[in-house]
Each structure stands twice: as C-alpha cells, then as structure tokens.
C-alpha cells in the first residue's frame, strides 16, 4: 500500500537525520530518488529550492511534496506523519529524562557547558543566513560589487526596530517581504 510505503520511507528519514536541515538532504535523496524513483533528480532540486523559498523544515517540505505528487493530500499527510513519528518517540523520551534528571549535579554541569555552545552554533547559522541575504551572487563570495545594498538596509532597519521596540519578529519578516515586493514593482515601472 502506497500510504504505508510513504509513511515508512519518511519514518526512516526522520529517524536517521541528525543535525537537521541540509544534513538530511542526502538521506532524503537516497530514499525518494534512488530507491523508489518517486521524484527525478531535477524535481528533487526543485523541492530544495521551494524549501528555501517557503517556510517550514526541508524534511517536512520534501515529505509533503513527494506525498502530494504520489498520492495526493492523503499521501502528503502519510509522509509527513512518518517524518515526525520518530521525533515524537525519541524526543519525548529525552524530555522525560531531562525532567527527571536535570537536577542531578552532573547533568547541571553538562547543561552549563551546552548552553553557550548552542548560542555559538545559532550565531554561526545566523551569520551564514546574513551573508546569504547580503550577497547578490552567493557563488562568488566577497567583493563590494557583490553586496545587495537593499538587503543591508532592510537588515539594519529590522535590527534597529527589534533592538528598540519589543516588536514581534513576524512583523519584521512581513515588513521586509513587503518592502521587497514594492522595490520589485518600482523596478518594473
């Protein structure tokens, strides 16, 4: 049955993808392009592009896209459910253990080491996203001509608003998207 196959394939993707995001890409490709031939390589590349353009994690996006193409809406639901099922089991177990043992001194110290580490990792991801937003052409990295001034201005404006007022980040994103649309329309005229 196709729904079961979709569920099981993405269950494996969910179970074996550590580190999230693009780390999971080869795993997803192996299953849906190489093993089952559910998508061609070109279609798979499109899924990646769509994932970059739309909200949502790439694993869920791939599951939904493949499911929808193979078996319609019920297919996308089956694949997505498969993708999150392992998280549900593993993460809930970890959450239970955390709640039970986080008062232990050794766990306290380990967590104290992990917190600054996480901030450092998020900083690295943030910087990568910032550079990607600032550069016109991400293939040729540096150089003043390659800097998208409009993006830098949007970034600075968003940053100032966030630092000064307690604005919801959602408004910053909506605002910059709107500014991008307006700039695009002006450029057309």
């Amino acid at each position: 049955m196709i729904y079961l196959e979709l569920f099981w394939s993405f269950f494996q993707v969910g179970l074996f993808s550590f580190g999230g995001g693009y780390a999971a890409l080869p795993l997803i490709k192996a299953r849906i392009v190489d093993m089952h031939g559910w998508l061609t390589l070109a279609e798979f590349t499109d899924v990646v592009t769509i994932s970059q353009m739309t909200p949502g994690p790439i694993g869920i996006n791939a599951a939904t896209f493949v499911g929808a193409r193979i078996a319609g809406i019920s297919g996308s639901i089956a694949a997505t459910a498969g993708c999150v099922a392992p998280s549900f089991i593993v993460v809930l177990t970890l959450a239970y253990l955390y709640n039970k043992y986080n008062k232990l001194e050794i766990i306290q110290i380990v967590l104290k080491w992990l917190r600054p580490a996480i901030v450092g990792l998020i900083a690295a991801a943030g910087l990568a996203i910032m550079l990607q937003a600032f550069l016109k052409d991400t293939a040729t990295l540096y150089g003043l001509w390659n800097i998208d001034i409009f993006s830098v201005v949007l970034f600075a404006a968003g940053f100032l608003v966030l630092a000064k007022w307690k604005t919801s980040p959602v408004y910053i994103m909506l605002g910059s998207g709107l500014a991008g649309l307006i700039a695009y329309l002006i450029q057309l005229v």
């Binding site: 769509i50 994690p57 450092g120 998020i122 991801a125 996203i129 993006s151 994103m173 991008g180 695009y184």
Partner: protein, 193 residues
C-alpha cells in the same frame, strides 16, 4: 480542564504562527520561539529554552518539529507536545501541498523571489538580534569559560563546518568530564580529616 484546553489553543496558535514564518532552516524557529515563549508569555525560562534547543539538536528528526515538541511538552505535557507538533507541521503541509500542484509557475516567478530575498534580510535581523540577547544572558557572569565555549563552537561550526551534532556531543562529554573532575576534587577534600 477548561484552563488546560485554553492553554492548548494558545499553544497551537503560537506554534502555528511561528512555523508559518520559519524561513531558512531549523534555527530560525529559535529566535521566534524565544521571543514568544520566553519574553512574551514567560512559559519557559531563558536557560531552559537553550536546553530545549540542545536536546532538539541532538535528537534525530526535524529540528523545528523537535523544538516545538519539547516546548509543547514543557508547557502542557504530552498533549502539549502533540498540539505543538501538529501546529508546526500544518503550515508547511498546507503550503507545499498547494505548491506541489503548480510548482513550475511558483519557482519561475520573479516577484516571489524578490519577496523571498528581502525576507531573508528580515530573517537575518531577527536571528542576529536573538543571538545577541542570548549571548548576553549566557555570558552575564564573569565566567570566561562560557564565552570561550561559545566562541569555540561558533568557529568550529562556521569556519570548519563541523557537524553540529558532533559539536554538541563533544561539549556534553567535556562537561561530564569537568563534572567528574570537580566531584573527585570535592571527594579528595573530604578525605582530609
């Protein structure tokens, strides 16, 4: 019970909105969630939020889902975890299902890519702002070690592209070793009468 379901509805709404705006990878949900659950609602403490991210990162699966699931569990138990997972998955499920039907038109659209490119700048501002706030609260003490761990992990990930899970696990091991050494020292002191 009425109070419980009220919290679940609130949690669903909050997580759904967060997920709908998580452009560009799992980490983006962290500043959004931090703002909503730590700053606005005070459902979760600042340290706890970082613990949640650490667990979400080191577990298998999609990071945004893991983070939402853990936050939901923290706020409202297993029901909360279920509601948060559903709310995290729904926006991409709806959007991608729609796109899957006419995706060629979507990918080639110049207006769409202009909006997305501009939104990326907004996302960058949001995430850098959160990093600064989290960094400040992490190294608020005079502990040089915290700053060193932060800088070290940043460099390992950014410059050397070392796998995030490997970095987290190594830090956990170092922390455990540190704890054992401390325990041994304390034990040694107790030996002296």
């Amino acid at each position: 019970m009425a109070k419980d379901s009220k919290i679940l509805v609130k949690l669903f709404k909050a997580t759904f909105t967060l997920s709908a705006f998580t452009f560009g990878g799992g980490y983006v949900i962290v500043p959004l969630m931090r703002k909503r659950f730590v700053e606005d609602n005070r459902w979760i403490g600042e340290d706890e939020m970082l613990d949640i991210v650490a667990i979400a990162q080191s577990a298998p699966g999609v990071i945004a889902v893991n983070t939402g699931l853990l936050a939901g569990y923290r706020i409202a138990g297993v029901a909360g975890a279920f509601v948060a997972t559903l709310a995290t998955v729904l926006p991409p499920l709806i959007i991608i299902s729609a796109i899957a039907m006419f995706y060629a038109a979507f990918i080639g659209n110049a207006a769409v890519s202009a909006v997305m490119k501009a939104m990326q700048a907004g996302v960058a501002a949001v995430i850098i702002d959160a990093v600064i706030k989290m960094g400040r609260s992490t190294v608020k003490g005079k502990d040089f070690k915290d700053a060193a761990i932060m800088a070290g992990c940043f460099a390992l990930s950014y410059f050397l592209s070392i796998n995030v899970v490997a970095i987290i696990l190594s830090c956990a091991v170092l922390g455990a070793v540190n704890a054992l050494i401390r325990a041994k020292k304390a034990g040694g002191r107790n030996d002296i009468p």
